[in-house]
């Protein structure tokens, strides 16, 4: 390591109750470099950065910035030490303007007026220098996620950050926006600033970082020169065993049409038109992938198809017959009875109930099955038996039907939900973000199960914001933008650049 580290951690240790989130972490980040941190969910990356940013107090260990020991007890101390952070979930006040958000905590005086004038000038300079254009007077709630991220970066810069930590910054960006962000990070590096990039996308690590630290189960397992490593090596280090990153699958053999959506329209409670005439078909034995930046109508599409949200127009044809109107009291049940399974995007909000035992979450929606108990009663043993069977088939760990659903890791929760839905032998599976917040090992498993289901001749509609997931699973790809299908591509003819342009709404198919 050349010279004094911009950021050095030694022996940082942090526990949350029984969870040992960080185990004696040593980390050294060279000045003027981009340092990647990778690890599965729950590996302790975010906790570690929370410690650096003063969000959590470590139980032991010390932090040095530019060689000077610093005591970071609060974000304020971190900001003073020149550390800025762009959080995965933006820390913005949505009802505020961009300027108010940037001023918050750096107001420049007890009255706002003077600070505002100063900030406008200074921010104009920063925006010009780093091509970070945002309208300072726009309400944050009205900005798209890319612009919101620029606000977060401006916030950090305005506070004089020399070390910038970005937590999963590309999760919400199109490939083009990602390129733009990386160009910005490269410029900083050239100016001698330091960047710590937390991500689970190994490709990005290889594309931009100088060095990379791999974390597993709260500990650092390796720090490598990026130039001398590979995706496969990183993945293996993260998981602790060899991982198959690519999904092996045969060409699809599409059969009869299972689902046809005709001109679907949906208007949300605020009167915003979320679906503006969406039409497509899904056949037996194929996976149709819907790509797009989140918030372009994918959630609404999934939820109308699953019977949860009403249509403002259009029809859903399932196996040649029209499906009843969604959004009514019985619609979701009717959908299930028709052998349509739904794995919702947000498993904690819609997929299962965190405070329920796994055996209760594992029967939700199918709890009226006769085999689970007589009449209106549930037989705990029957639910336990069924859940144990699901857990064995879907490799849920730990296989304890009575454990609280929320106590499972994200990947195992997802396997419970997926198992529940696939177990009923659906003809159509609608699945949203199947691997969001799921660790690599479980991703591999879930992907294989989805392909197996397809090979069994079932129709699958897959919605995902992870382009890699779409590219590795889908047989046909539809891109959604602004409530419409912006284009359709066969898997063979799809390249990332073209998809990215479609996702940004700036190209025709």
């Amino acid at each position: 390591m050349e010279g004094v580290a911009a950021l050095a951690l030694s022996g940082v240790d942090k526990r949350f109750g029984a969870v040992h989130a960080n185990r004696a972490i040593d980390l050294s980040v060279a000045p003027g470099s981009i340092h990647g941190i990778v690890g599965e969910n729950g590996a302790g990356k975010s906790t570690l950065m929370g410690v650096v940013y003063g969000y959590y107090r470590p139980d032991a260990g010390s932090i040095r910035v530019d060689g000077t020991p610093v005591d970071i007890a609060s974000p304020q101390d971190a900001i003073r030490a020149g550390i800025g952070m762009v959080h995965q979930h933006f820390m913005l006040v949505e009802t505020f303007t961009v300027l108010e958000n940037i001023l918050l905590g750096a107001e420049g005086g007890a009255l706002l007026a003077r600070g505002e004038i100063e900030a406008r000038e200074g921010l104009a300079r920063l925006m010009a220098e780093y091509a970070l254009d945002v309208d300072l007077d726009a309400r944050v709630a009205d900005l798209d996620v890319g612009a919101q991220q620029r606000v977060e970066i401006l916030k950090a810069l305005w506070r004089g950050a020399r070390i910038l930590i970005l937590d999963e910054p590309t999760a919400v960006l199109t490939p083009q926006e990602t390129d733009r962000l990386f160009a910005l990070l490269a410029k900083w590096r050239a100016q001698g600033r330091t960047v710590v990039l937390i991500t689970h996308k190994l490709r990005e690590i290889l594309a931009i970082t100088d060095r990379v630290t791999v974390m597993r189960r709260g500990a650092v397992v390796a720090t490598l020169e990026t130039a001398r490593t590979s995706q496969d090596e990183l993945a293996e280090l993260m998981v602790g065993r060899r991982v198959l990153l690519r999904v092996d699958k045969r060409a699809a053999v599409p059969g009869a049409e299972i689902l046809r959506a005709e001109n679907l329209r949906h208007v949300d409670v605020r009167g915003v038109e979320r679906l503006r005439g969406v039409s497509f078909a899904v056949h037996a034995g194929e996976i149709v992938g819907i790509a797009g930046v989140s918030g372009n109508g994918q959630s609404e599409l999934v939820e109308t198809l699953a019977g949860l949200k009403p249509l403002a127009g259009g029809t859903i044809v399932y196996k040649g017959a029209r499906l009843g109107p969604p959004g009514t009291a019985d619609a979701a049940r009717a959908v299930r009875h028709a052998h349509i399974a739904h794995v919702p995007e947000d498993r904690l909000r819609m997929g299962l109930i965190a405070s329920f035992a796994a055996r209760e979450s594992a029967i939700l929606g199918y709890h009226e099955d006769g085999e689970l108990g007589p009449g209106p009663f549930l037989d705990p043993d029957a639910t336990r038996r069924r859940t144990a069977r699901l857990m064995a088939a879907f490799d849920v760990r730990p296989p304890l039907p009575d454990l609280r659903s929320g106590s499972f890791s994200g990947g195992n929760q997802q396997k419970i939900v997926l198992g529940r839905e696939i177990d009923r032998d659906p003809d159509l599976l609608i699945v949203g973000q199947p691997t969001r917040g799921v660790d690599i090992g479980a991703i591999e498993f879930i992907h294989r199960r989805l392909v197996a289901l397809r090979d069994a001749g079932k129709a699958i509609l897959l919605v995902s914001c992870e382009l890699d997931e779409i590219l590795s699973l889908a047989d046909r790809i539809l891109v959604m933008f602004d409530g419409r299908i912006a284009g359709e591509l066969p898997r063979a003819g799809a390249d990332e650049k073209h998809l990215g342009l479609l996702m940004a709404g700036s190209a025709a198919a």
Binding site: Y56, M91, E100, L104, G105
Partner: protein, 325 residues
Amino acid sequence: MMDDALAQAVSLLASTLRLAVPLVLAALAGLFAERSGVVDIGLEGKMLAAAFASAAVAHVSGSPWMGLTAAVAVSCALAGVHAYACVTQRGNQVVAGMAINVLAAGTTVVLAYAWFNEGGNTPALPDPARFRAIELPLAAALSGVPVLGRIYAGVVSGHNILVYAAAMLVPLVSFVVFRTRFGLRLRAVGENPHAVDTAGISVSWLRYRAMFACGALCGIAGAYLSTAQGAAFQREMTAGRGFLALAALIFGKWMPVPAVLACLLFAFADALQGRLQGVELPGIGVVPVQAIQAMPYLLTVLLLAGFVGRAVAPKASGVPYAKEK
């Protein structure tokens, strides 16, 4: 006839102002609490405790200012308890607020019995121990001027100092909330405390300060009830004003000026019902007193149910702040 109508109007408006003061102060108090993310249904209890403290201390000391100081102190102490329960201990805000109401309702009466033995009330205060009406300059001279002079003398002049204080607090609170650093942080912490925390600002300390501002304003409101508008503490004398103020705050969408206008509307209904009791209305006859007394409350229900539209509360309101994990 014309003169008579004007006299009626002047007296109606003057009493509207007098009735509005505790509502306005309580609504502004609630604004600080709710904008910081603490739902405060304990406005009622803080006001009641303050009213008692104020009357009791004014009675003993003979000074309304001592009474006011005691009222603010007691109300702030209760606000501190509320903040401790809701912010530090992350308790349920509605339960904590209700506890304060129950505590105040019981304690004031018990202490009044124990100290003064007048059926749960405090002894009537002599004039020097109250905030008395102030005649503004030239009021008497101008009262002869038609309309404007009459309004100046009858509506604007002749109130006690707390009425004028409340009037000045409205623009002051507006300024603080929208034009100062504290106000920016206050609005932010009620919407997204995580953003405030990561900006290097203490969420707890901010909420404590907001609650103390809330307590101080409730204190003034309570003192007004027992030592300015009234001349003694009477059991349950707040009579739901804290809740009415909360309703006005929602109706005013958590903005100071609209909330104050809503308070004035409620106060006007109240003033009107006082005048309509026993009056024969053309075509209807005499309306039962109970029906007329219910009017301000009915108005509240109607307004809140029908005319508010979508009232969007500060997003983090009612949610105790906890870092993730």
